[in-house]
Amino acid sequence: MVYDILIVGAGVCGGMIARELSKYDLRVCLLEKANDVAAGASKANSGIIHGGYDPEPGTLKQKLNTEGVKLLFEAAEELSVPYLRNGSMVCAFSEYEEEQLRELYSRGISNGVQGLKLLSGDEARALESNLSQSVTLALHVPEAGIICPYKLTIAAVGNAMDNGVTLMRNFEVTSIKHKDGFFGLTSSAGDWVSGKYLINCAGGYSGKIAAMAGDDSIEIIPRAGEYMLLDRSEGKTVSHTIFRAPSKEGKGILVSPTADGNLLLGPTAVRVDTPDSTETTREGLAAVIRSVKESVPTVDLSKVITSFTGVRASHMDGDFIIAQSKLVKNLVNVAAIDSPGLTACAAIARYVTDILDSMGVKLCAKPDWNGKREDTEAFSKLTDEQKDAVIKKDPAYGRIICRCEGITEGEIRHALRKNPPALDMDGVKRRSRSGMGRCQGGFCAPYVMKLIAEEQGIKLEEVTKNGGGSKMLTGRI
């Protein structure tokens, strides 16, 4: 089949663009090199919905951040993705940083951010009792929020699929031919797909994908950020997202609750060799701890349940690159989407659609498009009586597999069936939260492996952690 639109990269931008385009009568194919969507930066970032005080006025970041907040909250509602409007505080510890905050404050006002307020250290501590005594000034951003970035991506792709978009996983693009008005993409596995328009949402590899298509103008600078995640017992240490004053490298190391109720610490900002440099380092985690101890000294580091690294796709200019390629016809680059990319993703999807419109793509709205996605976490929110009724119909909802998060077999099977179905252990974890708790899969992994094998009709030895060669077992005894 020849597609109208090929999207390379099923991260949060690719996913949201696919969903936006699924509104129209177009044949859309979303290509992803990994075994699951949200496999890159979209699974490992701060999950912050930024108020919009930070971007320089007149930049694409500023425009799409400001437009994006409202659109993102709307999309999260429609897609039943957990989010919280918890507000954020940017903290200053010195006169220099106080000056920075005042600058951010006036920039925020001119960017149209609502409700901004400068608080004295004591006023800030009145709102956030665990904040360090050394905080002298804080910028309060009540509009800011938090969202689970990979759940948003999964939901966006799932909803796009429900509306007719094709998802091809394990499609690592190795060559792009552009001939007679069609792009032909070949994968490392030898698969081939073709389409009229190409949208490059390849994150850290967007420079490489653009170059394969003939546009060598994009140079991505991968910058790693290390994080630590704490048990849900610590999720209430702070209620706001606590930022430090920003630096050139990023918005600094934050302390934030997550939309799922954990506590997140990080990220660092270190330039790395490749977008795959997702290892954590002793130095990086030590830097996170140092900073966190300064801003919120009561954080209980004995409650860390996991640490991870995300790699941002940054660019020298500092702004997003979202435009029709000047060098290759019918190629749209969506590149250098670092912070506030998550906040902007719904606005980016609209913006890209407008670009396609201006390029002559016919956008005929589908009358039967349904932007709503059922709440995959609905079961956990039911009352005991309602749960009882569900279990009576399907006893799998009465068997708790993940003890830490209380996730049942029914919910795991659901994650293995619903678009885009989980194919591996990490996929189940991100969809159902099974294995996401304090024991990190110690108890549930053997059971989850069996459910994956059963649902997919494969041998237990074939079950992987995250596709490819990441097999969990080496064979039978």
Partner: protein, 415 residues
């Protein structure tokens, strides 16, 4: 809503022993709630021998030891709600559980907590590096091999010399895997001496003390680990770093009592043991709620779990029968060289009380000194003590009352 006299949460060795003891004490309406399909808990996957020497006078495998207690509860007609997981305990001791039959609610007169423990995960250890497949906690690997019949890897490094790690070193070897090393960050092993001899030395598996896994390598499946000696602050020493190729890393770095349920019920937790604060009858800060086994303190031997569970089971029965005591209590304290003392409170009743404790570090020729206030009330000479081997001191209760308000146990080097 159902009603039962005693509800026991957990069908492992602690839960089963508590149930049988409560029944024998005269309370017939005892039920066990177990989240697994079959009772026995973690013993089901412990197919090695060494269980029961102290308690039963014979050496059994884990499943055999469990079977002794499964038979005991069957003979007594004690009901086990299987595949049922308790999600909350209310103040009035209503236990809510999720089961394949629906949501279960039971109003209990007494509750015994026997949920066991879990293993410390990689995340909690903050080992840096990548996150490939092939990194397992030792118990998870043990389940996959012994219960499911699958191998988790061929070339193995084990971090942590706790008993499960040692047992798994031997198990993997017997199954044809090559165990390259067991690394222990401390200058001594946390495992039982007999396990070091029988599981490592007998198979020529090297144990590296004061050594840790500093980095994990590999994108998809584990490809190797960097190990390094550590300095006094447990920081890896750069110059000692070396790479060991392996496809599997097993973690045996400590067990954590599973007390989320206990905490949510508002019961006091001891930060050192990770379990509830109890008196010598194993009653928690909530009247009528008792705790025993690894949910209370991590034991080395299942035999001691059974003993402790019998104490809790008998006390729960006495509580239901109205025979419990409300004698005044004094606190116990961990003194010099002692990490914790359990029970945390001693009720001044009965002839004697057993104090269980763990020392901070291995020492030879010491005496354990029990003091009430400033007065020494009993001393116990010991040729050797080690954190991996729990100490039990029998102290006469008559001597504990008097001038002080607390019992302190400390380790003193013999002169």
């Amino acid at each position: 809503m159902k009603n039962h006299d005693i509800v026991i949460i957990g069908g492992g060795p602690a839960g089963m022993a508590a149930a049988a003891a409560a029944f024998d004490r005269g309370v017939r309406d005892v039920v066990i709630i177990d989240r697994e399909e079959h009772p026995g808990g973690v013993l089901k996957q412990c197919i090695h021998n060494g269980f029961g020497l102290h308690k039963l006078g014979r050496e059994l495998t884990g499943p055999e030891y469990a079977d002794v207690y499964v038979r005991m509860i069957r003979e007594r007609g004690i009901k086990v709600y299987s595949d049922t997981m308790v999600t909350s305990i209310s103040e009035d001791k209503t236990v809510t559980a999720t089961s394949t039959g629906g949501i279960l609610k039971i109003r209990a007169k007494a509750v015994v907590l026997a949920m066991g423990c879990r293993e410390r995960s990689r995340g909690a250890l903050n080992i840096s590096g990548t996150r490939p497949a092939g990194v397992y906690s030792a118990g998870t690997a043990q389940k996959l091999i012994n219960c499911d019949g699958y191998m988790v890897g061929k070339r193995v490094v084990i971090l942590g010399s706790g008993d499960i790690g040692l047992i798994m070193a031997r198990r993997m070897t017997l199954q044809g895997a090559k165990v390259e090393a067991v690394c222990e960050i401390l200058p001594y092993s946390g495992g039982l001496t007999r396990n070091i001899v029988q599981c490592l030395e007998d198979y020529g598996i090297p144990l590296y003390l004061s050594t840790t896994v500093a980095e994990i390598h590999g994108r998809e499946r584990l490809e190797g680990v960097t190990v390094a000696q550590v300095d006094a602050s447990r920081t890896p020493i750069e110059s000692t770093k070396r790479y060991i190729p392996c496809d599997t890393l097993l973690l045996s770095c400590g067990l954590i009592p599973e007390n989320e349920l206990t905490q949510a019920a508002g019961i006091d937790i001891d930060r050192v043991t990770g379990g509830a604060v109890v008196d010598q009858f194993r009653q928690t800060s909530r009247e009528g709620v008792f705790a025993c086994g690894n949910v209370l303190q991590v034991h080395d031997l299942v035999d001691h779990v059974s003993d402790e569970a019998e104490t809790a089971g008998i006390a729960a029965a006495d509580y239901v029968l109205g025979k419990n005591t409300d004698a005044p209590c004094i606190e116990t304290r961990a003194g010099e060289g002692v990490r914790y003392v359990l029970p945390q409170r001693v009720r001044l009743t009965g002839d004697s009380v057993s104090l269980y404790l763990r020392v901070r570090e291995p020492q030879s020729n010491v005496r354990m000194v029990v003091k009430n206030g400033g007065r020494v009330i009993k001393t116990f000479p010991r040729l050797k003590v080690a954190p991996g081997e729990m100490e039990k001191l029998e102290v006469p209760v008559g001597l504990t009352s008097g001038d002080g308000d607390s019992l302190t146990v400390s380790v003193e080097v013999q002169k």
